[in-house]
């Protein structure tokens, strides 16, 4: 167990170096990447925020509260980019569907360690996270939110719960790629995109059944809206426990089904595998 942690930290170091080299290989790429990150940050926040300004708030949240929610959304989205964007680790159905899992299974490392390390992009993948932190701090100051340790701890808990709900769901749907490699190759990106599209909206004004649907069944509301409500002290009692529990539940189910899918993969392999590692 301790050896795995050691390996994970060592690999994070290796991937960090690789990422830094990639980002600084050329001034043009570097500037374009930073500019692209800045623009992504701006565009993901600006649309809904401008609406909140025009309408004097959205879904029961004031303009500043909406800004806080959007900042939090970018933190979660940024954490996804930071840990799971590289090498299609978040879009795992692509690697399963293309038969590329074979490359991981022959490595002398547990699959979990590989999955937790291969997506790590601390330099090229941290732009959205940094932007999210900046927007969240600005909104929190404007709202006079307490920057106490327990509150910051709660913020971290909410952010990582939302992240693992997102990743867990992507892995859950990706299990189908073990059984239908071609048909499900892109299934994780469909789920990720759908969650991302709805995740940045305040759902406060929606009817109760739709809110429940978007929190429990298709948990787009767990990416930003519900955590923001909890952090703003606007959610019902006990909601703070819901998010980590939901994250555990989704990741647990995904892990069990993933193991089952791996057994199937072990028996049948992938007919789409090519020695060059690309899909057929």
């Amino acid at each position: 167990m301790a050896g795995n942690w050691k390996a994970l930290f060592r690999l994070w170091g290796v991937y960090a170096r690789l990422d830094l080299h990639w980002l600084t290989q050329d001034t043009k790429y570097c500037v374009l990447t930073i500019f692209s990150d800045l623009l992504s940050n701006l565009s993901s926040v600006l649309g809904v925020f401008l609406l909140a300004v025009r309408f004097g708030g959205v879904g029961g949240l004031s303009a500043d509260e909406v800004l806080f929610m959007l900042g939090f959304y970018n933190i979660v989205s940024g954490l996804f980019n930071l840990f799971f964007l590289g090498n299609n680790v978040g879009n795992i159905s692509r690697r399963i569907g293309r038969g590329q899992l074979d490359h991981m299974l022959i490595q002398p490392l547990p699959l979990t360690v590989q999955l937790l390390s291969e997506g790590f992009l601390p330099f090229s993948g941290s732009g959205v996270l940094l932007g999210g932190i900046a927007v969240t701090v600005i909104a929190a100051v404007r709202l006079s939110l307490p920057f106490s340790l327990p509150w910051l701890g709660l913020l971290l808990l909410m952010a990582f719960s939302a992240l693992f709900i997102w990743v867990g769901l992507a892995y859950l749907v990706s299990v189908s790629a073990f059984y239908h490699p071609a048909g499900s190759e892109e299934i994780s990106s469909v789920a990720i995109d759908a969650l991302a599209t709805l995740g940045g909206y305040p759902l406060g004004g929606l009817s109760g059944w739709l809110q429940a649907l978007l929190v429990v069944v298709f948990p787009a509301g767990c990416l930003a809206w519900l955590p923001a409500m909890i952090l703003l002290g606007r959610s019902p009692f006990g909601a703070a426990a819901l998010l980590p529990l939901l994250a555990l539940f989704i990741c647990g189910i995904a892990a069990v089904l993933f193991q089952k899918g791996m057994k199937h993969y072990g028996k049948f392999g992938s007919q789409r595998y090519r020695s060059m590692g690309h899909r057929s």
């Binding site: 790429y29 692209s36 649309g47 401008l50 309408f55 239908h180 071609a182 909206y201 004004g205 690309h278």
Partner: protein, 255 residues
């Protein structure tokens, strides 16, 4: 013409390559997103905020049309992915124009969306609170937007070539620009501080904003069609020149 129709047919068949599960998942998500957006607009309008004269019915129609016509309002040829995968080079080995092949392939890929999403959207529009009326000016504006969309896509394809196939980065740049500046998600009419008035005149603003504003009666054809014509006339020569210049630097490898 026959060869381009054959390309369209091939592209249509290819769009179902990932199988029924992918198709069902994709369109289910599109419906979920559309329904949630319609609900959000209803809630916003129920607050009774100043919407600069825009009615709820107009907003719902705008949102519905934006989703239903999304591939036409933000034209994406396969150029970006084909540059990355190396398929692009094979286009030069065929006795057809590269632009023509990309355009035919793109038009073919719209088939499934039009059948599985656009058609049901239009049929269910009255139930969703939208009101659709045949508007010839809106159709003309849509045609101009599609033409300009191809042009913008070729400009981005050139950028990908110049950036040595960093298609993911250019894609994220493009997504950020189109999310806000095309008017596909939020109508320019409800943006504060007069931002919408400025964006309406921008090249990206003519893509989704113009046809949707004309179709929903938010703006007049007299105001927007000349802008669309102008951008088409200005951007097409630039796109052709830029792509020709960039294609000499094209390098492709497997993705």
């Amino acid at each position: 013409m026959k060869k381009y129709i054959a390309t369209m047919r091939m592209s249509l068949k290819e769009s179902g390559y990932f199988g029924a599960m992918n198709v069902v998942g994709t369109y289910l998500m599109k419906w979920l997103r559309l329904l949630a957006l319609l609900m959000i607009w209803k809630v916003l309008f129920a607050v009774g905020a100043d919407t600069q004269g825009m009615t709820l019915e107009q907003m719902l129609t705008y949102t519905l049309l934006s989703a239903a016509l999304s591939p036409l309002l933000d034209v994406r040829t396969p150029a970006s992915s084909w540059l990355h995968e190396g398929t692009m080079l094979s286009l030069y080995q065929r006795p057809m124009s590269v632009f023509g092949q990309l355009a035919a392939s793109t038009a073919g890929s719209w088939g499934m969306h039009l059948l599985l999403f656009t058609l049901p959207c239009l049929l269910l529009a009255p139930l969703l609170g939208a009101r659709l009326a045949v508007n010839p000016w809106g159709v003309l504006s849509l045609a101009l937007a599609v033409s300009q969309g191809f042009c913008v896509d070729f400009l981005f394809a050139g950028l990908i070539i110049r950036a040595n196939n960093m298609s993911w980065m250019v894609e994220s740049l493009r997504r950020a620009l189109t999310a806000l500046f095309t008017g596909a998600l939020i109508p320019f009419a409800v943006l504060p501080f007069g931002i919408g008035k400025v964006l309406e005149w921008m090249p990206l603003g003519s893509l989704a904003g113009a046809p949707l504003a004309i179709a929903t009666g938010l703006s007049t054809p007299q105001a927007l069609l000349p802008v669309q014509l102008l951008w088409n006339a200005l951007l097409w020569p630039v796109a052709v020149w830029w792509f020709r210049r960039c294609q000499e630097r094209m390098v492709s490898y497997g993705g």
